[in-house]
Symmetry: C2
């Protein structure tokens, strides 16, 4: 273990490191396994070898142009790193999570650009194309062409069915003629399309013999691979400056009677026969539509994992800074670390707990996705696979949204707890926030996306009323078999802090919440349906009901997965500290449910509110001495963290001084200084 996990350099963080109640190396080994830590170490070593990955000077603001060229170079390079290749990472289903995390923390723009231009493009061809499209995959892999994925249009994002791009089949010439109705029908936001893609996967309504057969996916050449100039008949370009992720060239595409050959239709879900007829294995048009968009779950699973990556980075910075930064004290010359303050503990430790829960949960979810994809490729039992696919869709639709939100809060709190110095670019938190911000609205705007989860759950209530057994491949809903029993008998009946922190108490609360909110949401929907159309009834059960239901559902699942992991812990000190994180996450996440707990009479006395507050403060206080060791276990190495406030040596002020002194314009007189000379007051 000595070779596998290196000690940190001794320094001002030693004080807290020595206080921890557990061996941080043992926890790391338990969380990741020897194989994964070795893989991580190899990848870190590899990444440090390339000049393309260096030179991210924290004190300099790159221009838009520089962001682009750096990300393009890095993205190209990622394709060539064997440790990141699919063949390598599927050796161990924890490798993809690790690789995704490291890429996201290190070079987020390049990581996403690589994924959308390569992985997403290739996966979509695998799942929607046939043998005749293999050449595109080969060309991508050889770097001959570069892809992108065009679904969203200027006027339509969440409502995929509302897309306005059409592909009209011309029987005589055996071509599709693609058109964007107007600017609102322009494809947009596609990563890689802005400046670099040569081929786009374009979703368009397929029109054959004047009949609209719904959305299908086409391979559309957009730029000449030899010159990178756009082909005639299309207008393609860049979306412009964004809040973050400016290395990614998100683009737009307007098609004007643009012809592509018949073979470029990805034809697994529907095809054109030689005599110009449309044929499809799907009788149900809605199911075909669902299948056409079926590859999107993967993105949501990976975003769930990205959230953990960002949380970890932000918490590493904020917690180490909190340990080093001193302010006020019992006497004037005895200032104490911010970590000692109750307020600071409460501001950061719940997010530390969240980070651990997200880490365990997203590892589990990515693993489930990879198993699913491989079973699908192997053609395993179709019914089982369909149920599993649906469950992953429903889980990832909630986890992407909820992980996105809690990560947003975590990053922001980290930024604020670093005080004024946290506002420096060199602190590194601003860019994490800006990059994460996209997660909240792409791959499904969170509030719209999470409805996919409640729709799935709502179908269960009639089965529950029917006393059917409820089960699913990943067992996320199995407890609902007991729903009626839970609603009838489960009550808050706890009178001490220890008990409210117990796994049983916390799981009980969340199970009651899911059952109650499911019933409440379902009943409300039925009620609305007596006077409203289905569309408006659905719309009017979201706030306080469907959204809270899906939130509680995914929180419960995260807790369950965390608990499974804790139960495998090799020794008591590790189990104990993880149980504290479990309890802190569970109790703090109840904040948005207090109203429901009292409204639904789960709690009828003040105890729940009182004990929850006391327990949270006790847990924060108990975690204090472990906080630095806990973050050491999951922190990325300094070259990836790249923050003057968060380095593992704790030398905050030295690094701050170096950063400030070395910023290019730090001490030079501005070239435009003469403009600052006194100007006579104008007569205004």
């Amino acid at each position: 273990m000595v070779d596998l996990i290196k000690n940190f350099k001794s320094g001002p963080l030693d004080v807290y490191r020595k206080k921890s109640t557990f061996d941080w190396k043992k926890l790391k080994l338990f969380l990741e396994s020897e194989e994964v830590i070795k893989y991580e170490n190899d990848l870190y070593e590899e990444l440090q070898q390339y000049s393309e990955f260096r030179g991210n000077n924290v004190t300099v603001q790159r221009t838009f142009e520089e962001e682009r060229i750096v990300a393009a170079r890095q993205s190209n390079l990622l394709r060539n790193i064997k440790l990141l290749s699919l063949e390598y990472t599927i050796q161990n289903f924890k490798f993809p999570t690790t690789a995704n995390r490291i890429r996201t923390q290190f070079i987020p723009s390049a990581a996403i650009k690589f994924t959308v231009s390569n992985t997403l493009f290739v996966n979509a061809i695998y799942s929607l194309g046939t043998g005749r499209h293999v050449k595109f995959i080969t060309d991508i892999e050889n770097g001959k062409i570069s892809g992108c994925y065009c679904l969203t249009e200027i006027g339509h994002g969440s409502n995929a069915k509302g897309m306005q791009t059409t592909a009209t089949y011309n029987k005589e010439r055996q071509v599709f003629i693609l058109n964007s109705k107007d600017f609102q029908a322009a494809k947009c936001w596609a990563g890689g399309l802005g400046q670099t893609a040569t081929h786009a996967l374009v979703y368009a309504h397929l029109i054959v013999n004047n009949v609209n057969q719904g959305l299908h996916c086409f391979i559309v050449p957009v730029r000449d691979p030899d010159t990178l100039l756009a082909y005639p008949g299309i207008t393609v370009g860049d979306m412009g400056v964004k809040i973050g992720l400016n290395g990614i060239d998100n683009g737009f595409l307007i098609l004007n009677n643009y012809e592509i050959p018949r073979e470029n239709l990805l034809n697994k879900l529907g095809d054109i026969t030689d005599d110009g007829q449309y044929v499809t294995p799907f009788k149900d048009k809605n199911k075909r539509h669902g299948a056409a968009l079926g590859t999107l779950s993967g993105g949501r699973v990976m975003i769930t994992a990205m959230c953990e990556a960002y949380c970890t980075k932000a918490l590493t910075i904020a917690l180490r800074y909190a340990a080093i930064r001193r302010q006020f004290g019992p006497t004037e010359d005895n200032e104490v670390s911010l970590l000692e303050y109750q307020t600071h503990q409460y501001r950061l430790f719940p997010h530390l707990a969240t980070t651990y829960v997200l880490r365990v949960f997203s590892t589990w979810l990515v693993e489930a996705l990879y198993k699913f994809n491989i079973e699908t490729a192997l053609g395993s039992n179709k019914d089982e696979q369909a149920a599993l696919g649906m469950e992953i869709h429903a889980i990832s639709s909630a986890s992407k949204a909820v992980a996105g939100w809690i990560t947003k809060y975590a990053i922001q709190e980290c930024r604020e707890t670093c005080g004024g110095h946290g506002y420096l670019k060199a602190a590194g938190i601003g860019s994490i926030r800006d990059d994460h911000d996209a997660n909240l609205t792409y791959e499904g705007e969170n509030y719209v996306l999470i409805q996919q989860n409640s729709n799935w759950l709502l179908k269960l209530w009639p089965l529950i009323l029917n006393k059917q057994e409820i089960s699913s491949p990943l067992e996320s809903i199995n407890f609902l078999t007991e729903a009626l029993n839970i609603l009838e008998h489960s009550k808050f009946n706890i009178y001490n802090i220890e008990e409210i922190c117990s796994p049983k108490a916390i799981i009980d609360i969340y199970q009651w919440l899911v059952c109650y909110l499911l019933k409440k949401t379902y009943t409300s929907l039925q009620d609305k349906l007596t006077s409203q159309s289905h569309f408006w009834a659905k719309s009017s059960i979201q706030v306080f009901k469907a959204k809270n239901l899906s939130t509680a559902f995914i929180q419960h699942l995260m807790l369950q997965i965390m608990l499974q992991k804790i139960n495998e812990a090799p020794e008591k000190p590790i189990r104990d500290v993880l149980l504290k994180l479990f309890a802190l996450f569970g109790l703090c996440s109840l904040e948005g449910h207090i109203s429901t707990l009292y409204e639904g009479c789960f709690a009828t006395t003040p105890q729940l509110a009182t004990l929850r507050e006391e327990a949270i403060l006790m847990l924060c206080s108990n975690i204090k001495n472990d906080a630095i060791a806990l973050i050491d276990v999951i922190a990325p190495p300094d070259f990836i963290l790249n923050s003057v406030l968060g380095s593992s040596d704790g030398e905050v002020y030295k690094r701050l001084q170096t950063a400030i002194f070395s910023s290019p314009q730090s001490m030079s007189r501005p070239s435009w200084w003469e403009e600052l000379k006194p100007v006579a007051k104008c007569k205004l």
Copy 2:
């Protein structure tokens, strides 16, 4: 009124504008008065005349250097605009609020740079200096010199007493010798110090005859006004790239045996006699310390007002976009505006209500501050002024923090409700968030600052127990005279939605909350004091107690001030719509207090939780048709808003198209395109 308030250009927003239940021009007139609207119009016209204020192309990312030069030019220009001068704005105490809002919304970096380099510098000399310092004020006003304000050090921000800069008096040579102990003692973050200031107001511990007399303020020349080169003996420079507000040159200053003449001590609070002795009118060193920092309230009041300015801007963008943007619908070809969705209403309308409350409240607070400053200058009754000064300090310490937080949430929700397009720089929300972010940590980190408020309130509890009458100049605490009565008799006893929306019900809830949390916090403090030092006891009553107390206190005050304003409304439609905003703000802000309401047995049945949810949904639904008119009343003109999504003509897609097409690199091949050509796979 037709000339005073112009109609908006007809367009797609007409649909909602026609639906509103009140006359938006009458509401605007009521909120602002004819005089203020005229002033606003004049200022808008004036600002549009200068080329320095133009050219803020939303599609372009300015370089760091460009940000700086633009802000420096704009800041210089602001000094010459007569409508913004103190002499002009004090004609009407609502003018400063208006001027502050417009500057903040239009050119935030320049506005703050101007304020800290000029206003703050001048105000500090007025309040701490004497006749011998008037020349510096004259020089600032004539643009001969440029100032900055140096309090914070690298190692100390919130704990002002912990500053490490010293000014040692040398009797022989009649000079102060200034020293920064080390890099942690470097002055930092001072706006204007980075590249442009010639003179700094430096807070340092004054040491006379080896006795430390505490913090005093000195005028320190840092750069030669003729060459803008730093003087020998100091190291002065720029902090570097920040999350936002990059136009402001925040700087650092290290003093190394740097000598300044005796006269440069601002000597109102303490002075050196000709024979080298320290004299002061303050016997109590703590009071002197308080007086030395007394000018800081002004900054907090203005930040409270800046929050409203940012909220208004973000809400204007998000609400207009929500009205135009359609997605999904009862049938495929009948999509509905996002504004029609319950979720979207709940995500935005509470923040619209907040914006109105902040607008009324901050106008009131700025007016109180100006009256206070003028009375102080006139030398009015010192005891009354001291009580008023303390109340403004306590109120602004809570309002700066709470307004900062709610504005943060509002901006972020606006960003997210704009979906993917909200991630574009051209949407304009990202920069609002980045600029506002500084408000959360400067001029007092929010969590530390808000303790100033609870400290003030906690002193009242013994008086309450003593049945003394509680009162203050601004009457913010007068209701506490009834505290014991409220705690004994006030209970939630409401069974219908209408009643829970009534001002009485809402005010009653908040009054109970303040009383209960005051008692809870006080009792907890006494309890902790039996086993802990005062320092640690204070630290351990913050979470769930002191912070919630101050939050409820300021929410109650905001509601009270809003209600006073509503009671002056000229007609029923206006009163009605404002009452809805009042109720929505009041009920939504209870979210963080639900636990307390049940824990303290104010509510003992599910009704409070149930009715609150139902009432919020009803209010959102009722406000829907007024939302666009409500934002029209307070929205800045398009040239200030500068957002492709939020223009008053509602032409979202046209402006989006223009912005995307006209971005500099939109459709050109990148200069580095050849790098993108296929690279052979390396053997890694």
